[in-house]
Structure formats: C-alpha cells, structure tokens
Amino acid sequence: MGKIKLLQGNEACAEGAVYAGCTFFGGYPITPSTEVAEFMARRLPQIGGAFLQMEDEIAAMAAVIGGSLAGCKALTATSGPGFSLKQENMGFAMLTEIPCVIVNVMRGGPSTGVPTGPGQSDIMQCKWGTHGDHPVICLTPAYVPEIFSETVRAFNLSEKYRTPVIIAFDEIVGHMRERIEIPDPGELPIINRTKPTCPPSEYLPYDDSKGDVPPMANFFEGYRYHVTGLNHGTDGFPVNASPRIHTDELRLIRKVEGNKADIVKYVETQLDDAEVAIFAYGVSGRSAKTAVEAARKEGIKAGLFRPLTIWPFPEEQVAAIASRVKAIVVPELSLGQIIFEVDRCARGRCKVEGIYRVDGDPINPAQILAKVKEVM
C-alpha cells in the first residue's frame, strides 16, 4: 500500500507526473495552475530533472518540446490566457509527433476573465485551439486521486501515441485538497516511447509502413534526423505535394480516433436503469454525482456519465445512452460548449438540455436535480 497524503489537485498532478517519469518542466506563473510549477521547482532538482521558468508561455511550451525531443518526459502547466498562447507550439508538437503533457487548470474567460474562479469554457479550445486539423487527446479528472492517476495516464498515452496530451481540470479541483493514496512504484503501468531498432542509416522518423505510430529516436542518440513544422515525408523533410500531405494528416487523426477503445475512459454511475442521464466532467461531474444520489432517494431514475477522456469524444457511449433515456442533462461551467458534442451524438434520440454557469461559482447539485425533474 502506498503513502497516504492530503494533497491539492495541482500538487497531485505534479506528483503524478514525477511518478510517470517526468524529468522536465517548463512553465510560466499563472493562476490557478501555478502550484504545479512550484511543486516541480522543488522536486525536479531533487531528482536530477530540469525545471525551467521561461520568459513566457510560448517559450515554456517550446522548451517542453525541446526537452522531450532530447529524451525527457516533459510537462507544462497553465491556465486560460496561457493556454491560448501555447496553442501554436502545441500544434507543432502534434504535427511533429513529439510527446508532452499540457495541463490546463481552467478558469473563467475570455481574456483575463476570472483568474481565481473555475471554468470549463476552454473545452472546445482543447480540441480546436491550434490551427489546422490535428489529433487531440484531452483528459478530464474530477478528484484529487484521479488527477494523479490521469496524469500518469496522460504521459502513457503521450508516449504511446507520440502526441501531446492535454489534462483539463478546473480551478476548484486544482485547488481542492483531498486524501490520496500514492501508488507504490510499479503499481501503475508506465509506458515509454518506442525507439527505433533499425540502423540509423535506415531510420525514417515518420515511417508509417508498420503502423500509425512510428518509433521515435531522441536527439543525440545517433539517429540524426530532421524535425520540421512543415508537412513532411516519411524521412521528415518538407513535402508540398499531393497525396502525401493528405494521407499523413489522416494518419495523425487515425492515431487517436482509431484507438478510442484504448484512449476513451469514463465513469458510469447508476446509468443501467436511468431514465435521465447527466453528462458532466470535472467539478460539474462532482455536483452531478450528488444530484444523482439525491434523485435516487426521491425515486427518480437518474444516472451519471462522467468522461475521463473528453477528446476523443466518447461518441459511441453517448449515442448508446441517448437511445435508452428520455433526456441527457449537461451541466457545464460555460455558456454551452460540450453540449453540442452530446447533442451531435444523441442525434435526436432524446432531449438534450444544458445548465450553464460562468459567474465563478460551480453548478450546485440542487440546480442539476431541478433540471432532472424538469426534463422527466
């Protein structure tokens, strides 16, 4: 049994990163994510890792990609405005297939918004923030122990699929303190990037002939190759021609969308006989769980679907729920974002109703329960 601690969500995220083998952090101070950086600033020098507070969010994202390319598992953490600033370099990592983990502790927006309050209005930015079509994996833990385990999973998915992974949780969960049992080393699986086994002269960094995730050589290991943000051929050099660009972009998407069975994770609560389902993640998922318990006490058949993977979206699961419930209620700390995905998957098979809030306070269980009763 592991060590029991009382940790803040942000601290649990940093602990999880170190557990996963992270030895590199690049960041910039921003509320409400700063505790992740502060933790890493203390811990990484103790374990021989590299901690960098960069001059801005953009440089922090760049440094993280550089650190990963040089062989480290690398993390950055940010919030709202900082997440916006990181987007271009995140797209670079997606196209060049360099693993890294980006934590977005969501606050209110747009602009400076509500730095000290929770938000869930970056969830579409997590998917579409950088320009161009691109693969996205985004995880949405809601409890402190879950932030730890999902951070480990984020690194594993990032290394396995050679792609950046976003962890998005809100200010409440990030700052909340809860009991957590830190797993012993070896208790959770740790995945490391697959390296090439061929001689360097034969290495093609983007060779997709043996699968959608090509082995990745780190810099300085004898496999001298080229990395560019331009669309490129299997050898990594710029290509400006059909059909290579098209087929390669499809492969990038397929890496994620084609492996949903492995990537998509969720928690279901009392959904089997539910007449009304609630789709909620993060702090809204916590309120929804309480609402379900209250509803059940009143004899109302409510259930909860709480995604731990929001991107790729759990389409099949939501579609299946929609075909057997009267309605899906979607509480979110935005003016309606993830509800569009739920509605898209429900395809008119049931009612889909939202509860929106952007005033810096969470949606409380009573609000959700009232909506459940309304749609029954």
Binding site: F24, G26, P45, Q46, G48, A50, L52, M54, E55, D56, I58, A59, A60, M61, A62, A63, V64, I65, G66, G67, S68, L69, A70, G71, C72, A74, E88, N89, F92, F219, F220, E221, G222, R224, Y225, H226, V227, T228, G229, L230, F237, P238
Partner: protein, 277 residues
C-alpha cells in the same frame, strides 16, 4: 585540397531554397568548415531554427536538426540544452525571427547566459514573405510595408545582445567570409550565450528596391561599411559616420553559465541529502 562540404550535407537535399545573389550560402559553408575544424561529433550537435530563409538551413545539414515555429527557436533550444547540457546547441535565426517575434526569447536567452551559440543572419528584411520591413531595416529604406520609406528606428543586434547579458557578442559579414570562420569558432568555444550577428544581403527583396543595382553592390557596401573593431575604435568620431565595427565586440569569460549553475544546484542538493542520510 578543396574542402569537402558534401560530408556534412544531407544527400538529395540540395539545391537550397535561397535566391540567386543571396549570401546565406557563404555563411552556410563557413558553418560547415567550423564544425570540421572543431572536429565536433555531428551526433552531438543540435541545430535549431525558427521561420524564415535562414531557418531553412538546418534541413540541409547532417546533424540533429529542428525547424520550429517563428521566433521560438531559442525556447526549443533552451529545452534541449537543459535536458542535455553536454551537447552542442546551435541556433540559426534571422533579424525578424530573432529580434521581432522572437525578441523576448532572444533577450532572455542572453540574460540566462545559457551555453548556446546563436547565429543571427541579418539581411535587414523579411525575405521569405517578400520584403516587409524588419526591426533592422535601415531608416528610410523601402519595403513593401514601408512603401514611402521606413519610419522605424532600427535595432543594433550586438548592442541588444550585450545589454541583455550575452557573454560573447560578435559581428561578421558575408563579404568578410574568412574572418567569419574565426568568429564562429570563437563563439562555439565560448562557454555561455554567444551571439554572432552576420550581415547578409537580400538582393531580391531588399537590394533591388534600395538602389543596390546588383548583389555585388551589396557585398561592396559591406566591404566599405564594416571595419575591424580595433580599427573602428581608433577612428575619431567624425570618421565613424556610416561605419560599423565587426569582429568580437564583447566578451566576458567566467560568468556563470546557466546549466552549470542549475546542475551545480542539483549536485549540492544531492550532497545535502547524502549528508543527512
């Protein structure tokens, strides 16, 4: 015997994208001669760039090469160097890439004094996008986005680097190619952030709009304008008008290098823990 450049050039990656009359090829060759002279193991070199004409250079050479986003090469390079402090990290950048969009990264890399060598190819213009004014375009010069003459004051890159804390600052030109090798060698050998501004010519998007009849005229302008710093410093002020110094302009040995300081701290913490145990 003629120098064999092919040994460092990736097969099939030439011709390069640079226009006829562009001087980047001169710098490119100088860089390869330097790597050879210093007998650097190419597996141990990371060559990092941003966006722009100069930033296409890494694609041609057989090192670990990284062509990143506009202005951000130094952020990526800083990450690489911190992860692997014993490796050689070299950045090639342009005037716009290094001092406009990447200006913040440039000054902070200088301030940290991290052991990275930065070659700034200053051609006074945004060449790749077709001739817009950059932070180094001389006042009055024509650019597509300054059609009535540039009203912006310009940066002096070596002064900027020195002011920001770089411990080695030099300036060379494509005309003075032989001297360039020496400057880049010295920059490489210096421990700390070293900046070499290399004056280049863009006849296509800068020269022909600004009364340089041919690429040769631009090289001759370099010949007439840039004096060795030793000679420049001896001139009376009235004779320095229109002239600029080149060579090693500033060098300070023994300043703390960032990675050494950081990993020195790591070692200290380790000893403290062992002392307690």
């Amino acid at each position: 015997m003629a120098f064999n450049y092919d040994q460092y050039i990736r097969g099939g990656k030439l011709p390069h994208i640079w226009c006829p009359g562009c001087t980047y090829g001169i710098v490119f060759k100088s860089l390869l001669r330097v790597v050879d002279t210093l007998k650097l193991n190419r597996d141990d070199i990371a060559l990092v760039s941003g966006i722009g004409c100069a930033s296409r250079l890494p694609g041609y050479v057989d090192f670990n090469t990284l062509h990143t986003t506009h202005g951000r090469a130094l952020g990526f390079a800083t990450g690489i160097k911190m992860a692997k402090p014993d490796k050689h990290v070299l950045v090639v950048s342009g005037d716009g890439d290094a001092t406009a969009i990447g200006g913040n990264h440039f000054i902070h890399a200088c301030r940290r004094n991290i052991d990275i060598t930065v070659l700034v190819f200053n051609n006074f213009i945004y060449g790749m996008t077709g001739g817009q004014y950059s932070p180094t375009t001389p006042s009055g010069h024509l650019a597509t986005t300054m059609p009535y003459g540039n009203i912006d004051p310009s940066f002096n890159i070596p002064e900027l680097a020195k002011g920001a804390g770089a411990s080695f600052v030099a300036r060379g030109t494509a005309y003075h190619a032989a001297g360039l090798d020496k400057l880049i060698i010295e920059a490489f050998q210096h421990k700390g952030l070293s900046v070499v501004e290399i004056i280049n010519a863009c006849p296509t998007t800068h020269g022909r709009r600004n009364k340089f009849k041919s690429p040769t005229d631009m090289l001759l302008w370099m010949k007439d304008t840039f004096l060795p710093a030793v000679a420049f410093d001896k001139l009376p002020p009235e004779k320095t008008a229109g002239k600029l110094p080149m060579g090693v302009l500033y060098k300070k040995e023994g300043l703390p290098e960032y990675c050494e300081t950081y990993y020195g701290m790591v070692e200290r913490l380790k000893k403290q823990r062992e002392g307690r145990a």
